[in-house]
């Protein structure tokens, strides 16, 4: 199977939402989608229904920016610095933890469902026992301030498929790779192109590493964001993906999309047939690349800026969430 062409990507269902939807998660084998966003709430919706209606599970006290399914639980993270656990069967809240002192930007569940990783603007990645909520380890290796004396941000994290490694990425383009077992740093990558500091015209910065994904065999790491920006008033550069042989510390590919935009989410095809980035500018985009990042293959428009996405179990498409919309797309027809 090769990457789908832009023409094959069809929006098959859309739900308008009053909020900006930042995070999505799905339990395998079901049509239930969990999502959260700028209304501070966590919702569930059955996309298998003709007229899906969202049901609220509960709320944070700020934006909901991370969701992950682990075992029988859904875990949500938000700008309130809290991690909340929800029972997937009953929908009720199991626990709520003060996990970080600043905004939680992303959470991820380990492939075996035993761990939850959370990254936040306190520049710490924390690993949690997904079943008990106990803190397992703290991973510190990102600077709190940018070289220009501003607070930095820790935007992205991802587990490798075997669950042995974790990658974290920050605003200034640093990626740390960690051994999940002992919490030790095993590699560091620098990707300065993702961070734009404008010292002359506007004197602030923009960008950062917004998405990370390991290849199915764990040898490569894909990094997503936006390239160097001329006018930092806007997301005024091309969506950008870099792929590294992370053990060798060598970049093996870089791909850019057409037009302007940011890559917010990355996913490898499970058999390594393609690498896909999702994000946007005013509209949304899907960018399919060679899985080594050496070439952009196709780019499709999405009906809204995409903040997060989950693949269908059969790889026929995906559900994207973003600016006031949820959209199901299909590329297999």
């Amino acid at each position: 199977m090769s990457a789908p062409s832009a023409e094959k990507v069809k929006v098959v269902k859309q739900l308008a939402r009053p909020e900006i939807v930042f995070a999505a998660a799905r339990r395998k084998g079901t049509s239930l989608l969990y999502f959260g966003g700028s209304d501070f709430r966590v919702h569930a919706v059955d996309l298998g229904r003709d007229r899906p209606e969202a049901r609220e599970l509960g709320a944070h006290s700020s934006y909901v920016t991370g969701l992950a399914v682990a075992g029988g639980s859904l875990v949500s993270g938000g700008y309130d610095g809290r991690l909340n656990w929800w029972d997937l069967s009953s929908g009720s809240q199991i626990r709520s933890l003060e996990a970080h002192a600043k905004w939680i930007r992303r959470i991820a569940a380990s492939p075996d469902g035993r761990l939850i990783a959370s990254v936040a603007d306190d520049m710490v990645c924390r690993l949690w026992d997904a079943e008990t909520g106990a803190l397992r380890s703290e991973l510190r290796g990102h600077e709190e301030m940018t070289p220009h004396h501003f607070p930095s941000m820790l935007y992205a994290c991802a587990f490798s498929e075997d669950g042995q490694h974790l990658a974290t990425g920050d605003k200034v383009g640093r990626v740390n790779l960690w051994s999940v077992e002992d919490g030790c740093s095993v590699a560091r990558l620098e990707t300065p192109t993702f961070y734009t500091w404008d010292p002359v015209q506007r004197r602030h910065s923009i960008g950062g590493i917004r998405a990370l994904a390991f290849s199915p065999d764990g040898s490569r790491l894909a990094i997503g964001g936006i390239g160097q920006i001329g006018n930092i008033d806007h997301l005024d550069s091309k969506p950008r993906i870099e792929v590294f042989d992370w053990r060798a510390g060598r970049r093996i590919g870089e791909a850019q999309g057409e037009g302007r935009g940011m890559v917010e989410h990355l996913v490898f095809h499970p058999r390594g047939e393609w690498l896909m980035g999702a994000g946007g500018y005013s509209d949304g985009l899907l960018l399919f690349c060679e899985s080594d990042g050496t070439k952009a293959l196709a780019q499709a428009k999405m009906p809204m800026y995409v903040h997060d996405m989950v693949l269908n179990d059969d790889l026929s498409g995906a559900v994207a969430v973003g600016h006031h919309k949820i959209a199901a797309v299909n590329w297999s027809a």
Binding site: P18, I20, F40, V200, Q201, S205, H234, G280
Partner: protein, 438 residues
Amino acid sequence: MAATRPSSFCGSSDHTIDRRGFLGTIAAGASAFAADMTALEVLKTPAVAADLKNKGKRVILLWLAGGSSQLETWDPKPGAPTGGPFRSIPTSVPSVRISELMPRMAARMDRTCIIRSLNTKIGDHGGGARLMMQGRRDDPSVRYPDMGAVLAHELGRADSRVPDYVTFYSATEGRGMAPGTPGFLGERYAPMSLTTETVPANLRKLDTIEDIDHQQRAELRDLLSRRFERDRSLSGALGSHNVAYERVRGLMASESLFDIRREPQAVRDRYGPTQFGEQALVARRLIEAGVPFVRVARAWWDSHGQNFETHQEMVPELDHVMAILLDDLAERGLLQDTLVITLAEFGRTPEINPSLGRDHFASAWSATLSGAGVKGGAVYGKTDANGRSVVDGQVGPAELFATIYQALGIDHEKQYMVGSRPVPLTDAGTEPVTAVLA
């Protein structure tokens, strides 16, 4: 009025003038000063008490170029669909809350009043910047001066040996949109404009002249001038020339005011390592030395994309610099006579666009006044629950400027004669916001 670019003394290569040209400009400006003053007959003489009141008053304008977001600073709407992700926090004034990005200013809210109800209508950078620097719309028949020039004129002294109007604008974006405009007041009130350097390069004595030579030349000139005056009847031209020369010498001597290395390290550390912080420290030094108006522009806030990331960088910097500046002024006994203003060309839209940005918005935004002549802790005006419109106490540019003038003891109805045309400081019928005046 079409804005004209005044002569400026900045160090940028765009408009660097050589030292001779610079001094010539100063001298010409000073000579023109007398002529300007005869032309600018004050029709409505301010009351003596008010005239005395404004003596020693100073202004520092923190110009948030590009348009900072009122929702992420002074008028937060947490929980509203338009509110964004930041929380509000309590302040030292009960019932007044501001963005969590400003904890230092929250602790100092009793020194600051917020006007939350600006409706200024112009939503483009150039037009908005001119409007908010002049307090009125352009008029093709009159070259209006901006706030700095008016206050330099009203608060400065004719025999001043320091600059009357200094502006810092280091970022290049938007610099040309509000360059400092003396308008009909003439070049005497054009700003000393600093861009890439903190110390104005053209004030420096030539390296080829020793200090002792410089001093001896000045003394020789003084001696010859005194003999010339003694042997002849005094002429206006000579007096004017001497005034101009003294002003140039004063300006050259003021070079040290711009040098923050003369501040104790502990003071420099308080202001922090950022350019904005360093320029605010220079502003304090200038104010302390008697400069009546200093603008410190912090550009560029135009966050059409990633508004929250931009404000996470820039608001804490504003919070830090503004708080330290107010503390420093207060500790030196200067705050009661110094008005610190935060202002921009407009605010930002309540609506959050797909790039998580906020766009230009002039219909309901905020400014602050701290220090001289204002009620610390006062909040004037109100916007609706989503910040889309003003629902109480609408303030336009003229009312804001009238309030600023009144806070400084300046009659906002005062009129200048420009040719045969009387021009009031603010448009007829304008009322200041007395609720925020001390």
